[in-house]
Symmetry: C4
Subunit: 370 residues, 4 copies
Amino acid sequence: MTKPLVSPALTQFVAATNGRNMTQAAYVAVMTGLAMMILLTVDPAYNALHHWVDALLWACLAFFVFEWVVRLRQARLTDRVWDYVLSVRGLVDAAGALAVPLALAFGVTPKTAWLLGILWLLKVLPGIRGLRQLRRVLVQESGPLLSVLVIFLLVLFLASVAVYFLERDVQPATFGNIPAALWWAVATLTTTGYGDVVPITPLGRLVAAFVMICGLGVFGLWTGILATGFAAETRRDNFLKTWESVSKVPFFAALGPAAIADVTHMLRTMDLPSRTMIIRKGQAGDCMYFIAEGEVEVDLPGKKVKLGEGAFFGEMALLGNNLRSANIATTRVSKLLVLDLVDFRVLMARHPDLSQTIDAEAKRRELENQ
Amino acid sequence: MTKPLVSPALTQFVAATNGRNMTQAAYVAVMTGLAMMILLTVDPAYNALHHWVDALLWACLAFFVFEWVVRLRQARLTDRVWDYVLSVRGLVDAAGALAVPLALAFGVTPKTAWLLGILWLLKVLPGIRGLRQLRRVLVQESGPLLSVLVIFLLVLFLASVAVYFLERDVQPATFGNIPAALWWAVATLTTTGYGDVVPITPLGRLVAAFVMICGLGVFGLWTGILATGFAAETRRDNFLKTWESVSKVPFFAALGPAAIADVTHMLRTMDLPSRTMIIRKGQAGDCMYFIAEGEVEVDLPGKKVKLGEGAFFGEMALLGNNLRSANIATTRVSKLLVLDLVDFRVLMARHPDLSQTIDAEAKRRELENQ
Amino acid sequence: MTKPLVSPALTQFVAATNGRNMTQAAYVAVMTGLAMMILLTVDPAYNALHHWVDALLWACLAFFVFEWVVRLRQARLTDRVWDYVLSVRGLVDAAGALAVPLALAFGVTPKTAWLLGILWLLKVLPGIRGLRQLRRVLVQESGPLLSVLVIFLLVLFLASVAVYFLERDVQPATFGNIPAALWWAVATLTTTGYGDVVPITPLGRLVAAFVMICGLGVFGLWTGILATGFAAETRRDNFLKTWESVSKVPFFAALGPAAIADVTHMLRTMDLPSRTMIIRKGQAGDCMYFIAEGEVEVDLPGKKVKLGEGAFFGEMALLGNNLRSANIATTRVSKLLVLDLVDFRVLMARHPDLSQTIDAEAKRRELENQ
Amino acid sequence: MTKPLVSPALTQFVAATNGRNMTQAAYVAVMTGLAMMILLTVDPAYNALHHWVDALLWACLAFFVFEWVVRLRQARLTDRVWDYVLSVRGLVDAAGALAVPLALAFGVTPKTAWLLGILWLLKVLPGIRGLRQLRRVLVQESGPLLSVLVIFLLVLFLASVAVYFLERDVQPATFGNIPAALWWAVATLTTTGYGDVVPITPLGRLVAAFVMICGLGVFGLWTGILATGFAAETRRDNFLKTWESVSKVPFFAALGPAAIADVTHMLRTMDLPSRTMIIRKGQAGDCMYFIAEGEVEVDLPGKKVKLGEGAFFGEMALLGNNLRSANIATTRVSKLLVLDLVDFRVLMARHPDLSQTIDAEAKRRELENQ
């Protein structure tokens, strides 16, 4: 191992980027690189600033090459070089590090070669939260979505042949062949409607009108399918995130498993960083909180009370007292379970014992805080 | 306190505008100001009417300055000057009052300075009902919505670099740099399709077709997410509004808490102004009403019966007699709970005792009214 | 009464049009009138056919005048002249009968006067099924829909003032005043994108890009709200239509009221004209039918069996035998309740006694038909 | 029977295409034919390759004629010639086989005659999965969808007459007759917005703005209706597909029919080809599988275990052990029932006996595999 090449401090710095979220530095590099690449194509701006633009582009490239090298090295340390190289992340890193230099090496002009910097943008992909959820919806609903796509293509081809047949003699320049008619059809069926190629014969326009209305229909089908998929996925996602946490709250331990499944559907998980204000004194409150992980601090007059895992707070706002009576903030990274007023009512109605526990605790606290 | 400056009557008048809804006067001022501002830019109209336009603009400005001053003064009376000044409302009021005068003071031409009158439009924001509901949906669904936005931007940048590369040599005037390509991409991906910048190479058109279809997909995802969010929010909103009122109706008091939560999901709250006709004789009826607040007057032949809080009416139409038998109108601002025929049937089936109470009352009324 | 003016036969003929659905004749007249009105504006066609076009237009007008007169007369017979005249239907009839003659009388040129024939189109409105359902959704969701509309208008005005400010010096011809900018903004925010007015400054394009993305958002919100509303309305509508019919089927009489509400949610009502084939022999079947009104005829080999109100059929396809074994058609106008395979399974699981009744009947029929 | 005409091998080959899915060969022929037909219209490409293009077109045509003849012959063998000829499939086959030759025979120029090859595209229709589901949604929701269509047409006609009236004097070339105005209206109402015909008078633009906003509304309604329909259809479809399979899994036999209906709503059917990897060792797992048909092979260290119909696997990932512990692949075409983690939890909570069976089996397997 050639440790001298990369100093331990730098290794550590890059190691931090191996998590799920890209480090801030990488984001900054991507943004800077992209901005410079765009600037490169704007002649007046580039002529005025070309030293800066070039310097920043090379700096970004250096960063990405460096990042890739360090990650490769780390992968070698854990004997997973090929795993990394062939993973999506590894391929994106390699593309970001190698595409521009290779293009330059093969004699592509710099103005064109730097365009490959657009590949750096792919590095933000793993950082997008909710992407997994989107993908699941697309996979689950792929059947009907594909059907709609096939129908879309069918209408596209039928319409473009029809319009080609009807318009080719009148507008040989724009409807002179089927690919040109396809271009018109896709712009029309998606309701984009550039207007660069437009039928002018009565029959051609009739076909076009039909295509536009089909466009609305395709939209509607597509959206309907996705809306259905999202409703299911949102419910599922929330359940999975919440289930783990519910079991950690002693308050719910008394419930049987059927009731816990019930409760889990009602709760929402909230991940909070340290020192975040959750409840602000004097605001109207419409939910209560259970602490699944972490700790919060209640800012009572004259003293500060800390509540740890398993405790709950904010219940007074739901028991008639409509305004929050104290500031409450997290002291460290915390995971809270939120129970909405609506569900609180339903839950208390179904499980009177829970209702009593909360009432008793609320009264104890009120006495204590007087 | 310098009371002489603002007369008590005026203070009272403006005080009324401190509620949730802007007064009619402020709405009129906003509309007038906006209309005049638009007229100012239409040369023929302005030349003909410039005295009127100028006078009305200054009058509107005077109104907003006055409104702001009075509100500031009121805030001082309750020692909350900074609370008001830094609140959204305070900032909007200040912008409406100060933007135009400041611009004029700094030597901006009147034609440009008055354009800042568009800020007056922001004053209608707090008056929009349902805005809170919209905001909650956007907040709750911000995760997936942001993911879609990032995907949108990703496609935008990738497509514009690709099309720039493919079209720059053929159309240097319109695709000469990436910002121009981005302009094309955003108009295409949103399916707006101005048609001022259009790819003409076969490959460029292929990319464009792909971008358009992605546009449909982005639309669909966005809509699917929002539809899911709205379904949840509508249910929640209705429950919260209704819960408070249900407890005030003695009719439901006999039900246990679980059943009340059940009933609450079925009822819809309706806020009515005074002297509003609720039921018109002879119409077909498909819901019954409970009075949560206020009073209604039943216009029976020969006499008028008043029903107060806790009473119900309209049940006969649900018990077989399909047409409303009397006019019923509110006598003052009232809050009614509406029970749809569908839910009436389900509710009566589940709670036979309620069914009997309603039957008995309906029979009593029929006897009485003979 | 001046009976001689209108012959009884004609009165009877028109009386038939007083129902909910316009008679075929009126539809034909509307279509013909509209087609002729369109033809009137197409110079070459009109020059060639002007005798025919004029004759048909006058004929249609005569029909509508006649229809209106007869309806007025009928209303007089029942002393409801003003009820009819001021009803939506009456106003539409009057407009259809009077608009064109009045315009001609006031000296409007025929080519323009006949354009008012477009009002005839309004006569189809009462005939649209499902319109009531659409209206209910719009009313129920009017709150959030209006909020979205206000946001739409807000973005519209803010964007057009911004773009007017940014583009007026560069494109005085197209962005010379705010109304012109508003025209651009509405075409952009609705993602129509004519392209006749397009910003060309970088900042103007940035604002435009923002407006387009807002357009997607407005679309999404609008659709989300309507989708939510429709889901609720569809469920409600089906329940109401079905409830009445369920009580007429003795088969369900054994169920308690809670179960009936349950069953009602599962059934779908189907109104069929006389002599309609419901089941075709040899087809795959996935639902069974209950007869709420009317009669069906089962075409068994060698004999025809009639089933009347309260009977059920098609159950064999659900009990394992996947293909329909006989043709079944209505003998007169009938109302059927359809039970889907999915719900059949759930229903049979919940109510084993129903299951036995159906099994017994199915076996009896099989024996009989051997 | 004239067997010599078609060899048995060929008959067999075509027989395979009589199933629900077109054979690969037919797909290839459709794609090739379509590509050649498009190439035929592109002059430079056709001039260069005309021998190839012509040859391939004739080859495709020959294939479709051959396919049709063989199918006709097979239909004759089973005495169903007319059934086949008049079925959708038969008509499509006939059109594909006869349209081009007939056109050529009637003296149509080859360039035009071959355009009829677009009819070959219809042959892919029966192969689209989910088409039946789409059709059912369209049928079920046809009522409200038609209402929206009628409203669409109403707005279309009203708007085009209004704009024709307002613009005909200013733009006689583009708004000179109502068909031209209709063309504008349809492009606007669908938010396509070509921009070839655009109103320029203030009132005309006001009407246009209204039409665009209506366009958004129509979109929203359409989508809302389809989304509602899809949600219902997806649930129904899944239930039907799953119900058959559930009864084959002995594991669920212990449940009563009500619970089985319950379970069926939770399971998802998955059809897998032979030799497909279902579970990959080391991945995170969030579902378990029941084998309804087929067989899987578990790749344990040192041995391979086969699981047949009725067995389940993947349960360990749901019982705390979050990572899959072995590769599992199908050995032949299999139908699996997937139980999501969410539903697994709910199911186990409701049916403790199932929970014990799974626990016991999981423990037995763990002991065995040590």
